[in-house]
């Protein structure tokens, strides 16, 4: 045996001894030699000394952000797993449609962790991006997922119906939740990085301000926000909840400081929702009078809304069927004869009843008129004030009276709908310069109210 081999054997023996892996005769033999052989003892001490020096290495600290992003990755992976299973279970035609309709078809591509590496300076920002972007929205929900769920069930908030049809666009019926998809979709780190890179300077500034606010929060609060975010992500109806959350957040801005605090401070969830419903009703009544030339006395707004609620309920099946048929017709006309896919129809059907009525008004108001018979007119007449009845009776024919009621319905519908900010922005851009000048001289809140009023008037009297 060479010297080297002997040394190797001694080292193995001593290492095993130091690691506590020897027993019985082997252990006794090593211990005996350590007592008898000083060079053997010195070798053991040297081996142990360098081993002990490893203790100088500091432990790796725990990072909350690591846990958060790992949990997000897992949720995202589960989402993909589910989609993949659905994918596997579908027929060829459906697969093809899914592929065409879901440009993101991410689950069809392999998941590669190595693609998600990013460099250090952005790491924290990227990890916390959804929290930074949404912490204020979450805070306005008092971080209560139950509250959001119940608020959604109460269906108090509806967005304006999507009206933009363009034959050139493949997105003939954009996703109603498109805006919210952005902050509630579970992104990979790479997605976030790309999104950050694509941001406009003012978006970056807004993000910075949000980040500063977020950074000032105590760690415990940050953790609570992260937990809320995760709870939201795992909900099956997360996109629906995100829409409700976004509209609720915008709606809160329409309240004065005192009213907003009153809503946010209400501890009991049920009471808070009742309070919100009451405030929305009040706002709808106020908006109703402003929504075009309704000619309806202010005091009649409330009975009219009651009648309108009954009317919708009574004709719901017919409205749903008519709206669906009209949607297919409009789609065909706009797209040069193409039939909308089942997915698009399903998406349309997911919109609220008010949105469908808005759609009918936009494309074929006569359909609504046909739903109204003499009994409906009489029922309304019984609930209105004498002054309102006089206004109604000033129209000679029943058809003219129906036309007036239809304009009231449209005004009510407009009053109930929240206008999506992007529609309002597009509408503003479409206005002539003189209108811009008149609007731009107003204070920001008056500017927004005046613009909304104008938008509704335009919708009621497009010509």
């Amino acid at each position: 045996m060479s010297e080297e081999e002997t040394q190797a054997l001694i080292s193995e023996e001593l290492t095993a001894y130091l690691d506590g892996e020897l027993a019985g005769a082997e252990l006794a033999s090593v211990e005996r030699r350590l007592q008898e052989d000083p060079s053997y003892l010195a070798q053991m001490q040297q081996l142990q000394c360098s081993w002990d020096l490893l203790d100088v290495l500091p432990p790796t600290p725990n990072y909350d952000a690591f846990v958060k992003t790992t949990m997000e990755l897992v949720v995202q992976d589960s989402d993909r797993e589910l989609k993949k299973r659905l994918w596997m279970g579908r027929g060829l035609l459906t697969k093809l449609l899914m592929f065409l309709l879901l440009p993101g078809a991410a689950f069809a591509s392999s998941y590669a962790m190595t693609n998600q590496r990013i460099t250090a300076p952005y790491r924290k920002l990227i990890r916390e991006l959804p929290l930074i972007e949404n912490h204020d929205r979450y805070a306005k929900l008092n971080l209560q997922i139950d509250f959001l769920q119940k608020l959604n069930e109460a269906a108090l908030f509806t967005r304006d119906v999507v009206l933009s049809f363009s034959a050139d666009s493949s997105e003939l019926m954009p996703d109603l939740d498109e805006k919210n998809e952005e902050f509630l979709s579970i992104e990979t780190i790479k997605d976030r990085e790309s999104r950050l890179k694509a941001m406009q300077p003012q978006q970056v500034q807004a993000l910075k301000r949000n980040q500063e606010k977020f950074d000032q929060l105590p760690e415990q609060r940050k953790q609570e926000i992260a937990n809320f975010h995760l709870q939201l992500l795992v909900r099956d109806n997360k996109n629906e909840l995100a829409t409700t959350m976004a509209v609720y957040y915008d709606w809160l801005k329409s309240l004065g400081e005192t009213e907003r605090t009153e809503v946010l401070d209400e501890v009991d969830i049920e009471t808070r929702i009742e309070m919100i419903a009451a405030k929305i009703d009040q706002q709808n009544l106020e908006k109703f009078g402003k929504a075009g030339a309704t000619m309806l006395p202010g005091g009649d707004a409330e009975p009219f809304f009651k009648w309108y609620g009954w009317f919708l309920k009574h004709h719901k099946p017919k409205i749903l069927k008519t709206a669906r048929e009209l949607y297919v017709d409009v789609y065909r006309k706009q797209s040069g004869g193409k039939t909308p896919s089942a997915n698009r129809i399903k998406q349309f059907q997911k919109s609220s009843l008010s949105q469908k009525v808005g759609f009918l008004f936009q494309y074929d108001p006569n359909q609504m008129r046909e739903l109204m018979g003499e009994s409906e007119v009489n029922r309304l007449r019984k609930q209105l004030s004498l002054l309102a009845i006089e206004i109604l009776d000033s129209y000679q024919s029943q058809e003219q009276q129906k036309a007036l009621i239809i304009s009231w319905i449209d005004a009510a519908n407009q009053a109930k709908l929240n206008i999506a900010p992007e529609h309002l922005r597009d509408f503003y851009n479409s206005l002539p310069k003189t209108r811009h000048d008149a609007l731009d001289s107003l204070s920001p809140s008056d500017w927004k109210n005046a613009l909304k009023q104008l938008y509704r008037k335009k919708r009621l009297n497009p010509k």
Partner: protein
């Protein structure tokens, strides 16, 4: 005579009783997200720490640690405890790190040492000792430098030596557990650890003998 299946069930029961992390993992198998979060919380620093020594890059170590957790989550439905949870976790870690290192090696990327200049300056032990023993702010700096020296020394071990050393020293694993984790015989583990100790002793000799921080040589591949 128990069948293989019965033995497997008994073993699973044994680990379920003995190891609280196995019990957590069984909850993960039943889709309990909180249990998984607890495991991530519990093992993140140990995992990232080991991976950082293996790949010598904190960012990559964190990415790989997430990959390990993701693999564990994906495998949850098939999970049957046949060892301590940590053994299973570090087996996956070993596989993930080996793949990453072999990819790096194929790209012929040389793993540079931690000192930006490529070498650390030699400093007499008495200076270090003074800093270490005195109650002065420099003590923290000296400790950082020593940590850097140790990281550089570890980086010079072969990949498998390094893994075996980390599991033994920082995870307190027995040879049998390391053998299971790295899919080796206990004899091979014994030999790896022995060579790791010897190599560390050689690298650190200038410091142990004369108090001089050793020059750092570019890390070599598997030894």
């Amino acid at each position: 005579m128990p069948t293989d299946e019965e033995k497997k069930i008994r073993l699973a029961k044994k680990y379920e009783l003995l190891d609280p992390d196995v019990r957590l993992m069984l909850r993960v198998r039943d889709d309990d997200g909180a249990a998984f979060e607890e495991l991530v919380q519990k093992y993140q620093s140990r995992l990232v720490g080991i991976l950082r020594h293996l790949v010598s890059n904190t960012d990559q170590a964190e990415d790989l640690a997430q990959d390990v957790f993701l693999r564990i989550y994906r495998a949850r439905k098939r999970y049957v405890p046949t060892a301590k949870f940590s053994t299973w976790l570090f087996t996956i870690t070993h596989n993930v790190a080996s793949t990453a290192l072999s990819k790096r090696s194929r790209r012929k990327e040389v793993n540079l040492t931690h000192s930006p200049s490529g070498a650390m300056p030699s400093r007499p032990l008495d200076t270090m000792a003074k800093e270490k023993s005195a109650l002065m702010p420099a003590r923290l700096v000296a400790r950082d430098e020593m940590a850097e020296m140790m990281r550089s020394a570890i980086a010079q071990l072969g990949d498998r030596q390094r893994m075996a050393m980390l599991l033994s020293k920082f995870e307190g694993m027995s040879y049998l557990e390391i053998a299971e984790t790295m899919d080796l015989s206990t004899q091979a583990v014994k030999s790896l650890l022995s060579r790791a100790r010897l190599k560390l002793k050689t690298i650190l000799e200038p410091y142990v003998e004369n108090g001089v921080v050793p020059n750092v040589i570019a890390a070599e591949e598997e030894g």
